[in-house]
C-alpha cells in the first residue's frame, strides 16, 4: 500500500481541502439563484395620500351655492342638472359625447357596439326589446324609457349618479332619482367620482351585485389587500379612475374589447391618460427574474396575478338558462336555492349556476372580440359564442388571458336564424315575459319595440360569452406558482397549439428514455452478477 501521508514521494497526494474549496467556488457562481425572494414590502398607500391632498386643493364649497339650496321637487333630477349647468356650462355637452350617455362607443372605435345598439349579451339579452325603462336605472341620464329617448337634451344628463359623495343617491326605472332621495342635500355635497359611484352601476351588471363580470362587485369597496391590491385601503388605496383615466367626462374603458397590450404612458408631465394596461405603471419588465419577465410575451399579467375571480365572498353568475324560465308553483313564480344559499332556479331567469372564488378559463386573446347583433345570422356552431375572441399562439399581440365563461341559452328565431330581443321587464298583463311568462308574446312585442322583424316562431339556442378578468388583482405573494400551469393537468391544460414545458411531452419519450436507462442498469446487473459468480467458482472450483 502506498503511504498516503508521504510528502516526499514522487506523486503528491490529493488535497481534498483544495478540491472542495474549488467546488465551493464553482457553486458560488449559481448560489444567487438559491436565494429567496425578499418578503413583500408594506402597503405603500401613496395614492391614498395623493387623494387626500387633492381634496385639500378643492376651492369650491357647493353647500354655499345659492342655486343648489333647492328645494328640488322629489325625483326631479333635471332640475338639479339645470342648476349644475349654470356654472358648469359645458359639462352636459361633454357628457353627451360619452359612452356613459350614448351607450355606444365613439363611432370610430368599434362597429357600432353598445347597449343602445342591436348588441346582445348573455344575461338580460338586449335593452331594445322594450327594456330601456328597467335597464336605464344605470343610464347616466333621466327619462330613457323607450327607444325615443332624446340623446341631445342637456337637462336629461344625470350629474349626481357619478358625482354623489354621500352614497344616498339612487336611481329607479327610467333612470330617474328615487323620489325619496334628498336632492338638494346630495347636490350640495357633490365631488369627485369614487369607487362607490362607479360601482353603483358597474358592480351590478346583469341585474345584481357580482352577477355579470365576476371581477367587479360591491366587496371591492371594503376590499382587504388580498382581494384587490390596488383598490384596497390596505393596499395602494387607488380609485377606479386612477387607471380608467377621464378626459372631458369620457372615462377610459375597454370599448368592447381592451387591447391586451395597450401600453398607455403619459408622454409629458400632467398628461391625463388612461392606464388600463398594467404595463402603464408597472412597465413590461416588473419582475426581478428575467424568466418571469419574458412570460409577458405570451402571458397577460392578469393570468398569474388574478388566481381566481369572485373572491370577495359574493357569487357570480356562471350560467343562465332562459329556456327553463317560467315554471310556476301554485300559479306563482318561485326560487330554489342550494345548500350554500345560491339560487339554482328562478321563475324569471330559469336554471342558474352561481359560484364564488372561481378559477378563470384561459384563452389566447389579442384584445379584440366580435359581438353578435340581433341582425346577425347565427353561426352553425353550438353553443353560439356571442363574443368570439381574436388571438392565437402565433399572433404576436395575443396573450393568454383569464376569462369568465358564461353559459346559457337564449330564445332565437329559427326561421330568420337570428337572436331575438324579448320584452322581459314589465307588469302582469302587459305581455312582458316577467309579467305573463309567455315567450311568444314577449318576443313579438319586444321585436316590435326594437323595430325588427320576427317570423312568429321561436326556439332556444345554447350560447356562451367571454368576460375578460382584469380586476381583483391579488398581492404578489398570491400570484400563481409556476406549477399551476407548468404541470400535466394545470390551468392551461386546455390551451392548445404550443409547447408548454412541464405540461407537454412527446408521446413514448419517457418509455424510450427510462427504458434505455433501465436496460443499461439491467445489463450492468447481469454483467456484475456474472462476474461475482464467475470469481466465486474460480476460487471454489
Amino acid at each position: 500500500m502506498t503511504n498516503m501521508t508521504s510528502p516526499s514521494g514522487p506523486i503528491r497526494p490529493p488535497r481534498p481541502g483544495r478540491f472542495i474549496q474549488a467546488l465551493a467556488g464553482l457553486m458560488v457562481l449559481f448560489l444567487p439563484v438559491l436565494a429567496t425572494q425578499p418578503p413583500p414590502g408594506p402597503a405603500h398607500g401613496a395614492y391614498g395620500r395623493v387623494r387626500a391632498e387633492r381634496n385639500r386643493d378643492v376651492t369650491a364649497d357647493h353647500t354655499r351655492f345659492k342655486v343648489l339650496q333647492g328645494p328640488f321637487k322629489d325625483g326631479d333630477g333635471s332640475a338639479v342638472t339645470r342648476a349644475c349647468l349654470t356654472c358648469h356650462v359645458k359639462a352636459a355637452d361633454q357628457v353627451m359625447a360619452t359612452r356613459h350617455w350614448n351607450w355606444r362607443p365613439a363611432a370610430t372605435d368599434r362597429k357600432g357596439y353598445g347597449k343602445s345598439t342591436h348588441l346582445v349579451n348573455n344575461f338580460c339579452i338586449s335593452t331594445l326589446g322594450g327594456n330601456q325603462e328597467a335597464c336605464s336605472r344605470c343610464h347616466a341620464g333621466y327619462g330613457m324609457t323607450d327607444r325615443t329617448f332624446d340623446f341631445t337634451k342637456a337637462e336629461n344628463v344625470d350629474c349626481l349618479v357619478c358625482h354623489d359623495t354621500t352614497g344616498d343617491y339612487e336611481k329607479v326605472k327610467g333612470g330617474y332619482p328615487n323620489p325619496a332621495v334628498p336632492l338638494a342635500e346630495i347636490a350640495q355635497k357633490v365631488g369627485r367620482t369614487s369607487n362607490q359611484t362607479c360601482g353603483v352601476c358597474h358592480f351590478f351588471g346583469g341585474g345584481a351585485d357580482a352577477t355579470k363580470h365576476g371581477d367587479l362587485d360591491d366587496t371591492l369597496l371594503k376590499a382587504p389587500r388580498s382581494l384587490d391590491v390596488h383598490l384596497s385601503r390596505d393596499g395602494a388605496a387607488m380609485s377606479c379612475t386612477d387607471c380608467h383615466g377621464a378626459r372631458s367626462h369620457e372615462v377610459a374603458g375597454p370599448d368592447y374589447g381592451a387591447p391586451a397590450d395597450r401600453r398607455e404612458q403619459p408622454r409629458f408631465a400632467g398628461e391625463a391618460v388612461s392606464r388600463m394596461a398594467c404595463t402603464a405603471c408597472h412597465t413590461a419588465t416588473p419582475h426581478a427574474s428575467f424568466v418571469l419577465n419574458r412570460h409577458y410575451r405570451k402571458v397577460a399579467c392578469q393570468t398569474c396575478h388574478i388566481p381566481a375571480y369572485a373572491r370577495g365572498g359574493l357569487a357570480s353568475n356562471l350560467s343562465w338558462t332562459w329556456s327553463t324560465a317560467g315554471r310556476l308553483k301554485g300559479g306563482r313564480p318561485y326560487e330554489d336555492k342550494d345548500a350554500n344559499g345560491l339560487v339554482t332556479y328562478n321563475t324569471i331567469h330559469g336554471d342558474m349556476v352561481w359560484a364564488k372564488n372561481v378559477k378563470p378559463e384561459y384563452v389566447f386573446y389579442d384584445g379584440s372580440m366580435d359581438f353578435t347583433l340581433l341582425t346577425d345570422p347565427l353561426p352553425a356552431t353550438r353553443p353560439v359564442v356571442l363574443n368570439p375572441l381574436h388571438g392565437s399562439y402565433a399572433d404576436p399581440d395575443a396573450r393568454i388571458w383569464p376569462f369568465k365563461r358564461h353559459d346559457g341559452d337564449q330564445p332565437f328565431d329559427p326561421v330568420q336564424n337570428r337572436l331575438v330581443a324579448p320584452w322581459t321587464a314589465g307588469p302582469k298583463g302587459s305581455g312582458a315575459y316577467w309579467g305573463d311568462y309567455d315567450w311568444d308574446t314577449a318576443i313579438r312585442l319586444g321585436m316590435e319595440k326594437a323595430g325588427l322583424p320576427y317570423s312568429g316562431k321561436f326556439g332556444f339556442v345554447k350560447t356562451s360569452m367571454w368576460w375578460p378578468i382584469t380586476h381583483m388583482v391579488a398581492p404578489k405573494e398570491q400570484a400563481l406558482a409556476c406549477g399551476e400551469c407548468h404541470s400535466r393537468q394545470g390551468r392551461l391544460a386546455r390551451v392548445k397549439g404550443f409547447y408548454l414545458p412541464g405540461r407537454d411531452r412527446a408521446p413514448g419519450l419517457d418509455f424510450l428514455g427510462w427504458g434505455l436507462v433501465l436496460l443499461t442498469f439491467c445489463a450492468t446487473l447481469v454483467h456484475g452478477a456474472s462476474r461475482v459468480l464467475a470469481s466465486r467458482s474460480r476460487r471454489n472450483p
Binding site: L34, Y499, R503, R505, L509, G513, V517, T524, H527, A534
Partner: protein, 197 residues
C-alpha cells in the same frame, strides 16, 4: 510498487465538478419536466439555468486544458486492442483474465473508453448545449412564426440527450468497478494515480 499519475489535479477537478453539475442538471431538468418535485418549479428552472452556465464555464476551461496540454489526443479513436477490450468485457473478465490494455500517462483510456467519451464530448454535450440554448432563448427569437412543433422538437431532443446522459452515467459508474479491484478506478479518479495490481 510503482505509481503513475493518470489524472492530474485539474483533470480530477474537472471530472468531479462536471459529474456533480450534470447530476444536478438532471435532477432540476427532470423536475422541470414534471417527473418529481424537489426544489419547486421556479427554483428548479433558475437552478437549471445557473448550473448550465456553470457547466459551460467549466467546459470552456476543460477545452482549453485539453487543447493546451495535448490531452485531447487521449480521445482519438483507435482500433488497436478494440476487439480485445470487447472480448475482455464479454468473456475475459469472467475468467479473471488480465486487463488487455495497460494504462499509461499518455494513453489512460482504453479503446472503448475513447469511443464512449468522444461520443459524450462531441455528441451529447454539444446537443444538450445547443438544444438547451434554443430552449432558453426561444422566447427571444421571435420564434412564434416558426413551425408550431419547433419547441416541442427542441425539448424532445434535449430530453433524449438527458436520458442518454443518465444511461451513460449508469454504465460509467458500473464500469468503474472493472478495475483490478472494484474500487481501484474510483480511487484513481479521486487521488490521481493507480497502484499496480
Amino acid at each position: 510498487m510503482s505509481r503513475i499519475i493518470l489524472y492530474t489535479r485539474f483533470n480530477r477537478f474537472w471530472h468531479w465538478t462536471q459529474a456533480l453539475l450534470i447530476l444536478l442538471l438532471a435532477v432540476t431538468g427532470f423536475e422541470v419536466r414534471g417527473t418529481f418535485r424537489i426544489f419547486g418549479y421556479l427554483r428548479a428552472v433558475n437552478l437549471h439555468h445557473g448550473l448550465s452556465l456553470a457547466l459551460m464555464t467549466l467546459v470552456l476551461f476543460a477545452a482549453f486544458w485539453h487543447l493546451t496540454t495535448g490531452e485531447w489526443r487521449q480521445y482519438l479513436p483507435t482500433r488497436v486492442f478494440l476487439k480485445e477490450m470487447a472480448a475482455f468485457y464479454l468473456t475475459g473478465i469472467f475468467r479473471g483474465a488480465p486487463h488487455p490494455v495497460r494504462k499509461e500517462r499518455t494513453a489512460k483510456l482504453n479503446p472503448l473508453q475513447r469511443l464512449a467519451y468522444l461520443g459524450f464530448k462531441v455528441l451529447i454535450i454539444p446537443v444538450q448545449f445547443t438544444t438547451g440554448a434554443l430552449y432558453f432563448f426561444y422566447p427571444n427569437l421571435n420564434a412564434h412564426a416558426w413551425p408550431a412543433g419547433f419547441l416541442w422538437g427542441v425539448s424532445t431532443l434535449h430530453v433524449l440527450g438527458a436520458f442518454g446522459l443518465l444511461a451513460f452515467l449508469v454504465g460509467h459508474v458500473y464500469l468503474t468497478t472493472t478495475g483490478h479491484t472494484p474500487l481501484a478506478n474510483l480511487k484513481a479518479m479521486l487521488v490521481g494515480y493507480e497502484e499496480d495490481a
